[in-house]
């Protein structure tokens, strides 16, 4: 009898095997589901432009060598200034598009003449590294129409955002995935 019990039963062996594989599978699926929940897929990182101080940390603290943060332009707020303090170095030699006059380290802002004395400024986003120098110049002297946003197509969606940790003004927050950007001219303007 005891000898019979020791005999391997092929059907039971296959059954036990299936049970073990099933248990591991269910556990894996549970872990996957728990991971997705913890990852908080319904929310994304974004910069509140009204809290941003354009400190420059976005360019240097993102885990990507080319930061996921880029400059955006709220055209409705722009003064179309000839002397744009987001475009020109302070005390620029000339108000021309010469590289030595430009504040942007990568030349990511295009300046186009409209009519005297108005110029339009557009961000060449692939060139932008999110340093925020233009944002600081525009906000300090002008209307603040330039502002930083996290480009969701570039963002790695890290669980712990490295630039959120480095942000001195706690301007980086979670936003619903359905509204991934906080445009400055549509989210409460100046008082």
């Amino acid at each position: 009898m005891a000898e019979n019990q020791r005999k391997i039963d092929r059907r039971k062996f296959v059954g036990d095997g299936l049970r073990i594989v099933g248990a591991v599978g269910i556990a894996g699926a549970t872990g996957f589901w728990a991971g997705r929940r913890a990852e908080d897929d319904d929310n994304l990182w974004q910069i509140d432009p009204h809290q941003c101080v354009a400190c420059g940390n976005c360019a240097t603290h993102c885990v990507l060598d080319k930061s996921a943060v880029v400059c955006k332009h709220a055209y409705a707020m722009c003064g179309y200034c000839n002397l744009c303090t987001g475009y020109f170095e302070p005390d620029a030699n000339e108000l021309t598009t010469g590289a030595e006059n430009q504040l942007c380290p990568t030349g990511a802002i295009r300046r186009t003449f409209i009519e005297d004395p108005y110029y339009e400024y557009a961000i060449d986003e692939p060139l932008c590294i999110g340093c925020g120098k233009c944002v600081k110049g525009c906000t300090a002297f002008g209307n603040g129409s330039l502002y930083l946003q996290i480009d969701q197509d570039r963002c790695m969606h890290c669980n712990e955002c490295a630039i959120a940790i480095a942000c001195p003004s706690e301007a980086i927050k979670r936003v619903p995935a359905g509204k991934p950007y906080l445009p400055k001219d549509q989210n409460g303007g100046p008082a």
């Binding site: 391997i8 894996g28 872990g31 990852e39 809290q51 603290h61 990507l64 200034c81 303090t85 969606h157």
Partner: protein
């Protein structure tokens, strides 16, 4: 395979320790998968140097030898947003903001009275016991008791009234929205439009990128209009003739120039028509001669320190608020500080004190 061997393996399956091991394996798999899903980014920063900070503070430094005034008083104003300051009857200091005018004692800044308004004011001027209060698109005349004696016609949705100046017969109102200055008589009838581009009369266009355009009337009867986008103070006669030779102002960071994209944001006139100017961006208050020659600094950026906190919802820099100015009969310069929400009073340094600061010597007098 022998029957004995099969029996041993069967025993192993039945051993309870194997089930514990299996359970631990399952828990391990759950933990590993969960960890891999949640910790998807490396914690390290990238390799770029921290070289992108745009330090504006170095641009704001003012050589102490240029500072010709000293602060003597600070009058806080219990308002959330302050917009304009004007000198009322008997030297009273009047501040417009929120939905009110606060009337302060000239000596100690005590609140004498509050005048409630129906809307948020944007600018203020006083003429005797009357206040001309500029709202977004219209002017109201209010007396010291708060009685509204007149509401002038609205200038429409494109208007943005930013400054009022009163002369003997006229009231001049700067409209930054439609980029012109409106002349009214004191009954509220509009009598002329000034400073609007007119090639035939050689009148240049006002360039107003930010919502600031100030006006002031001198004792010579000429109207001073700030053209902030061109960094100039432009002069007009009452009839609207442009006095090009009198116009002055240059852009630049140097102390004698106007910084940023569009400055100055406010002006006030001393008794001898010298001009007090206020800038935004690098907030500084300066005095120029009547001809536009730089004389001295009244308040440096350090003296107009922001009271921002790091947790404020909307930072002051984003609120588009700027300093406003008034001058009282003793020649004191009243600076309305929008960040600190109060009036800073500056008086001219005594000559020997100014000499001391310049030469570094001590005067025993």
């Amino acid at each position: 395979m022998t029957p004995d061997g099969n029996a041993n393996r069967r025993d192993a399956v039945k051993q309870p320790g194997l089930w514990v091991l299996l359970l631990l394996t399952v828990l391990g798999v759950v933990g590993l998968v969960a960890l891999m899903r949640t910790d998807s980014g490396p914690p390290a920063r990238n390799t770029l140097p921290p070289s992108f900070d745009y330090d504006l503070s170095s641009l704001a430094k003012v050589d102490p030898k240029w500072i010709g005034y000293e602060p003597t008083a600070w009058f806080p104003v219990a308002m959330r947003v302050v917009r304009g300051v004007a000198l009322g009857p008997d030297g009273l200091i009047c501040v417009a903001g929120d939905r009110a005018i606060h009337v302060l004692e000239p000596d100690d800044g005590r609140l004498r009275r509050k005048i409630a308004l129906d809307e948020a004011p944007r600018c203020l001027a006083a003429d005797g016991d009357l206040f001309y209060v500029g709202f977004e698109n219209h002017v109201a005349v209010v007396d010291l008791d708060g009685t509204v004696s007149a509401q002038w016609d609205s200038r429409g949705p494109d208007a943005l009234l930013t400054s009022i100046a009163v002369s003997q017969d006229d009231v001049f109102v700067a409209d930054a929205g439609t980029k012109c200055v409106l002349r009214y008589d004191k009954s509220g009838k509009m009598t002329a439009t000034l400073a609007r581009r007119d090639a035939r009369r050689n009148v240049p266009a006002l360039v107003i990128p930010s919502p600031y355009c100030d006006v002031a009337v001198g004792s010579d009867g000429l109207l001073r209009v700030v053209n902030p986008g061109r960094h100039r103070i432009e002069y007009f006669t009452r009839r609207g003739d442009y006095e090009a030779p009198l116009t002055w102002g240059q852009s630049g960071l140097a102390i004698e120039r106007f910084c940023g994209c569009c400055n100055p944001v406010a002006i006030a006139l001393l008794a001898d028509n010298r001009v007090v100017t206020a800038e935004k961006g690098i907030p500084r208050v300066k005095v120029y001669s009547a001809e536009g020659r730089f004389e001295c600094v009244v308040a440096s950026p350090e003296q107009l320190t922001s009271t921002d906190t790091m947790t404020e919802e909307t930072r002051t820099a984003h609120k588009l608020l700027a300093v406003d100015l008034a001058v009282d009969r003793q020649g004191r310069i009243l600076v309305l500080d929008p960040a600190a929400r109060g009036v800073r009073v500056f008086v001219k340094k005594k000559p020997h004190a100014a000499d001391d600061s310049e030469s570094g010597e001590v005067n025993d007098e």
